[in-house]
Each structure stands twice: as structure tokens, then as C-alpha cells.
Amino acid sequence: MDYRWPDEYLAFRDEVESFIHEWRTPELLAEQRELEGAPGPLSRKYYEALQKKGWMRMCWAKEMGGDGRDPLYQFILVETMEYWRMPYGNLTFTSVAPSIAQYGTEGQKAAYLPGIWNGELTFAIGYSEPNAGTDLASLRTKGEKVDGGWKVNGQKIWTSLAAHSTHIWLATRTDPDAKKHQGISVLIVKTDSPGVTIRPLQTVSGLKTYETFYDDVFVPDEDVLPPLHGGWSIIMHALNHERVGLSPTSNLARNYDVLVEYLQKNAPHKLADPVVRNRLAELRVELQRHRALAIRNAVTIARGAIKPGEASMAKISGSELRYRITTLAMDIAGRAGGLARDDARSIEGGLIQNNYLASPILRFGGGTNEVQRSIIATRHLGMTR
């Protein structure tokens, strides 16, 4: 037992922080605001620099093209980047690429991995459907076998970044007669394929997402991940890859820090109010409780152990705390706390208010908290199903 972070991890954190301070310029932030998260010229440059650092694959096995570093480095990367809300890789890197590396054919590896690494290829994830959200396995988008490939018909929602991606990583029912969890394959679909339609969806927190429609879209056989009809385990495996830093403490703590800084500058009388200080003390306690679950989960994953209950706990804790911190911070700041990010007077670009509106996402995204709680009960505590 030793709860200290060894020096090499702390040195890595410092390195990441230096990198952030170098790149997080007002110009980059302005570009991000303007393009609503889509890649612009500055963020492309930033991504290039990030890729040069090699951090995106640092925890992969050497034989898969990585550095074979301890996954706790990934944890530290995520925590440090998330504090400043700097992008550090998306599902293309954390989910698609490892899946191709592990399951893909040699041809697929050659066709996609280099392009992913140099940033030319980006993937949107096509899992959710209007009637298959939490119950993902009931998806209906179907592929019919045709000569040399598959003809795909169906509809996906929450295909985030679809309009800015070159490909869609599409969960498709390829065997309609198999049981629910079987008969699903992962297809790699070019976004400019004939028959693909992308429709933007505005969400309440400003995040743009997309609905994607597939009308007789042709996908060649070589773009089907093997094993055919065995997509469910690929999907599950891919989700597991994200879990070392699945619920950062730092970006929750950032809301706290932003509030305190605002009060120091604009409402010192409130910061002097014993009741406000007590509420802040309560938030500090909650942040540490969450931090405990987040690190506990990361350590387990870093060891290669599998304890789904720990990931579920970290995920529930972080997603629910996001709501509590932000709603309280808005109350403390009063009407100033309600200013949105499109108002120049808003606190730190409306960060807290925006986090409030976005807070439901993680409560259902990546498996609803209801499902997570049942996972804790059955798989961590051994309760009867």
C-alpha cells in the first residue's frame, strides 16, 4: 500500500501541463467556440503536435504499435487534459483504432491505422438508434448480403461528429435470424458513400450531434470487421478501452475552481459568507469521494484486472456529481450563474452553466446509471439477478 503518485507520473503530468499551456491560446479557444468542436486549422495543428507526443498510443502494447506504458499514464493524461477541457483524442483513437488493431484484418490495419495516426481519417460511432439506446443489442439497422459486400439500410442517432468524419463505425445486424446479441457486425462505412444522409441535431447544451440515415448503402466485404456476426464483443471490448479515465475528477474540480475565482473577483462578500463556505466545503468532500472511486477504477484497469462494478461506480459518481456541483454553483452565483456561453459576461465562457445543461448526458450515455447500479449489485456485490 502506497497512495503516493511516483515521481515519474508527476513528471508526466507536468509535461502534459506544459503542453497545454503552450497550446491553449485565446485563438484556439476562439476557434473551438466558433466551430462548436469541429476541427479547424488551429486545432488540426494542435492535434498534430499531440500526435507527435505519442500520447495517444502510449499505453498500447508495443506489438500493437504503442509504447507499452502503464495505463495510469492514460489516466493522468485524461485528468490533466480534462481540467482544461483540451481535446486529447476521441473515440477514433480510444475505441476504433484499438479495435482495428486487435480484430481487424491485415488489410484493414494497413488501410486505416496509418490514416488514423496522421489525422486524415476520423470515425463517427454509429451504435445508438431511435429505438435501441440503452438496449443496444436490439438495434435494427440491417445489412443484406449482396455481391461483393453488404447493402445497408437503417438509421442511427447520436452519431456525434458524423459531419466531420471520413467514416462511420457502424453496428449493423447482418444476421436477422440470430439471437439478439448475435448476428451483429461492425461495418466501416465511408460518410460520402451514396445513400448516407447526415442530419444535424442541436442539443440543449449547445453540443451538436447527428442523425445518420442509410439507404441501400453499399459496404464492400473488406470493410466488415471479422468475425462476421461477432460484432457484439468488438463493441463491448471497445467500450472497455475508455474506462481507465472514464470519469475524471479534474473537470468537476474545475467548476469549483471557476466558481471560487468568480467569487473572489466579483463577490468577495459571498465568499466570506459562512454558509457559502460550508457549501464549498461540502463540495470538496464530494469531489474527494469521487476521486477515490475514479482512481480505484483506474488502478484496477491498469493492473489488467476486470471489475466492471468499479467502472460503474466511478461513472455514476462523476455523472451525478456534475449535476450537483453545477446546480449549486449557479445558485451561489445567482443570476450571473445563469448567463449562457453566448453571453460575453458569462462566467468563464458559461462553463458552469453549460456543464449543468450537459450534465444529463453522462447519466445515460455509456450505459444508463440505472443499468450501472444493477451491474454494481450483481457483479460487484454478487446479488441475485
Binding site: 439506446g133 447544451s205 446546480t327 453571453d343 449543468y356 445543461l357
Partner: protein, 361 residues
């Protein structure tokens, strides 16, 4: 002890609800919301229905009804999330009517037919409801700034709290008067709000210091009423959605965890409804104190994020997309939770008197 609406009150509720649901599609609300402008056409139409004068004396063409009826008006508007200053104008109108001498009958009549639109302007700089630096000099000229003024530009007049030669009071100011300038704000609720600056603006004193507290209590109570409406609709939409949305082979509504979330939402809604109407009923004849108004606002301001976030929890991704109608009530609800005293500010008011035994009958 009868917490239910009378027949006349029910009729008003039903009439308004049917009218708004029929006449105002949510997409029309989206249009006004996006532009941050009030729905002037709806306002005009409501004047035609005779609703704008509900609590005003019959002598000026009003409905001669009370605060409960005014509350129903505010409640129904909030249920449809329409972009009109219902709560604001009711607050100002009741204050003007209460302190009416001969001078006021003209503006009261104009309020009834929708030609005058009066909104309160109270809050200054920080979120401290007790701070009033705006001042009216001996010549009756107002100088000062008011923040987060709802519907400042749609209004024809502002009812401004300020310090004059006779002390703190309410002053009536014309929006179009030279020296009144506004700067738009973009808030969570997406309704029009602004910072208003008054530079040497003619202002007529209409009520004294006691009225300032009354104005806050009333505005706070109507804000609570709006919150109630947001919670109600959020719950209704959630029940409807979970009854039809099938996951894992059964409607979401049949899952125990989903039922329990909905039950928690429901307890907030039902207790809030009782508290809000009890307060309106008691404010009508002076039985309610400022503490009562603060207590109800504290309770509802805390409840509404809980309820609307549970609504989102049960809607999943569907509920976050702006094409779905759920979000109106999430954003309006939290906005009103911050208006006229957040839960924190209202609790601070209650904290002044904790020694009195709480009411239990």
C-alpha cells in the same frame, strides 16, 4: 381547508390551457426564443381574451379576480413556455392597482387592453435583492441601472425600485423616454432579459417603501408558480414518454427504477402545487409573510433542477435534443430558480427566524 380550484378557477385554467395548446405550437415558441423577442401577437390575443386584466378592478375593465386567478394565468403561460411577460406584468399590475389613486386608472385600463406593458425593474449589479442605489432626484428624474430585467424592451413602462426624496419607493418610467437604454443578456431561460440604464429619466412615484417588499414577494411567488408549471410538464412528458418507449422488451415505465424516479418527481410536483396555491391564497388577504414567500421559493428552486434532471434521465438522449419539447421546462425552470432570489438567497431570509416553531397544521 380546501386546496382545490373553484369552478370558475378551473374554467379559467381549462380555457387557457386549451387555447394555448391549440393556438401556440411549440415551434412558434422556438422562434421567439431563438430571437429572444416576446410573442407580441399572443400578447395582443390574450388582451382580446380579457386575461391581461384578471386581477385588476372591474372599474378599469379588469376581471376583478384575485391572486389565485393571476397565478393560474402565470401557471398556464409557463406550462406552454411561451415568450411573454405574464408573471412580470401581473406583478406590476397588482402593485399598481393596490396603490392606485386617481392617476393610475388610465394605465390600468391600458394594461387590460394590452397597450401598456409594465414590468418590474429591481435587481442591481450583484445578486443582492436588498441593494437599491437607483435614485430619483427632487425634479423626479431617475438615475441608475437595473440588471436582469425581464422583457425590458417589450415593455412600455418599467416599474423601478429607487430611492427618492420621500425614501425608497416604486417609480413608473416610460421605456421610450430618452435616457433609457438597454443591453441584452443571454440567460439560461432564453427569454428576453437586459441590463437597463436610466440617465436622467422622468419617473413618477407610485408607491412607498412597503410596496418594494410586496413587489418582491409577489414577483417571487409568481416565479415559484412558473417553476411549478415547469415541473408539472416535465413530469407529464416523462410519464408519457416512458409509457411508450420500449427497452429490453417492455415499456420503460414498467421498470421499478423508472417508476421510483417518477414517484420522486411526483412528490415534488404535488407538494409544490399545494405550497404555491396556498401562498397565492394567503398573499391575497395579507396572511402570508415575506418568510412564507421565501420558503416556497427556496423549496421550488431546489426542486426544479431535481425534477427536470430526472426527466432527462428517463428520456435519455431524446430529451436533450432541441426538437423534443422537454428542454423548455429544464431551462425555464432553472432560470426562474435563479430569478427573484435563488434557493440560497431565500434560505438566508428564512435563516433569520428559525426560533419560531414551524407550522404543522
Amino acid at each position: 381547508m380546501n386546496p382545490d380550484l373553484s369552478e370558475t378557477q378551473s374554467l379559467l385554467q381549462t380555457t387557457m390551457r386549451q387555447y394555448l395548446e391549440t393556438e401556440i405550437p411549440f415551434d412558434r415558441v422556438r422562434e421567439h426564443e431563438e430571437k429572444r423577442v416576446a410573442d407580441a401577437e399572443l400578447w395582443k390575443a390574450m388582451a382580446g381574451q380579457g386575461w391581461l386584466g384578471i386581477p385588476l378592478p372591474e372599474t378599469v375593465g379588469g376581471g376583478g379576480a384575485g391572486l389565485v386567478e393571476a397565478g393560474i394565468f402565470v401557471h398556464e403561460l409557463a406550462r406552454r413556455a411561451v415568450v411573454v411577460p405574464g408573471a412580470e406584468v401581473m406583478t406590476a399590475a397588482v402593485m399598481l392597482a393596490r396603490h392606485a389613486d386617481g392617476d393610475e386608472s388610465e394605465i390600468l385600463a391600458a394594461l387590460v387592453d394590452g397597450n401598456a406593458i409594465v414590468v418590474p425593474a429591481h435587481l442591481e449589479a450583484a445578486d443582492d435583492l436588498e441593494k437599491v442605489d437607483a435614485a430619483v432626484d427632487a425634479e423626479g428624474r431617475l438615475a441608475g441601472a437595473k440588471h436582469y430585467v425581464d422583457y425590458a424592451d417589450f415593455a412600455t413602462h418599467h416599474l423601478v425600485t429607487a430611492r427618492g426624496t420621500e425614501g425608497l419607493g416604486l417609480y413608473l418610467v416610460e421605456r421610450s423616454a430618452p435616457g433609457v437604454s438597454t443591453e441584452a443578456l443571454r440567460s439560461t431561460g432564453r427569454t428576453p432579459q437586459a441590463i437597463v440604464t436610466y440617465r436622467d429619466v422622468p419617473a413618477r412615484r407610485v408607491a412607498g417603501e412597503a410596496a418594494v417588499g410586496q413587489l418582491i414577494d409577489l414577483a417571487r411567488t409568481f416565479a415559484s408558480t412558473q417553476i411549478l408549471a415547469c415541473m408539472e410538464v416535465s413530469l407529464e412528458q416523462t410519464v408519457a414518454y416512458t409509457n411508450v418507449r420500449v427497452q429490453f422488451g417492455q415499456p420503460l415505465a414498467a421498470f421499478q427504477a423508472v417508476q421510483h424516479h417518477a414517484a420522486n418527481m411526483c412528490m415534488h410536483v404535488e407538494s409544490s402545487r399545494f405550497l404555491v396555491y396556498e401562498l397565492l391564497d394567503a398573499l391575497e388577504d395579507g396572511r402570508a409573510s415575506s418568510d412564507d414567500a421565501a420558503l416556497v421559493k427556496a423549496s421550488l428552486s431546489r426542486a426544479v433542477p431535481e425534477v427536470t434532471m430526472l426527466g432527462h434521465q428517463l428520456h435519455g438522449g431524446q430529451g436533450l435534443i432541441e426538437e423534443n419539447d422537454l428542454y423548455f421546462f429544464t431551462i425555464r425552470g432553472k432560470d426562474r430558480a435563479l430569478a427573484w432570489g435563488s434557493a440560497e438567497e431565500c434560505l438566508a431570509i428564512l435563516a433569520r427566524d428559525v426560533e419560531t416553531p414551524p407550522r404543522w397544521l
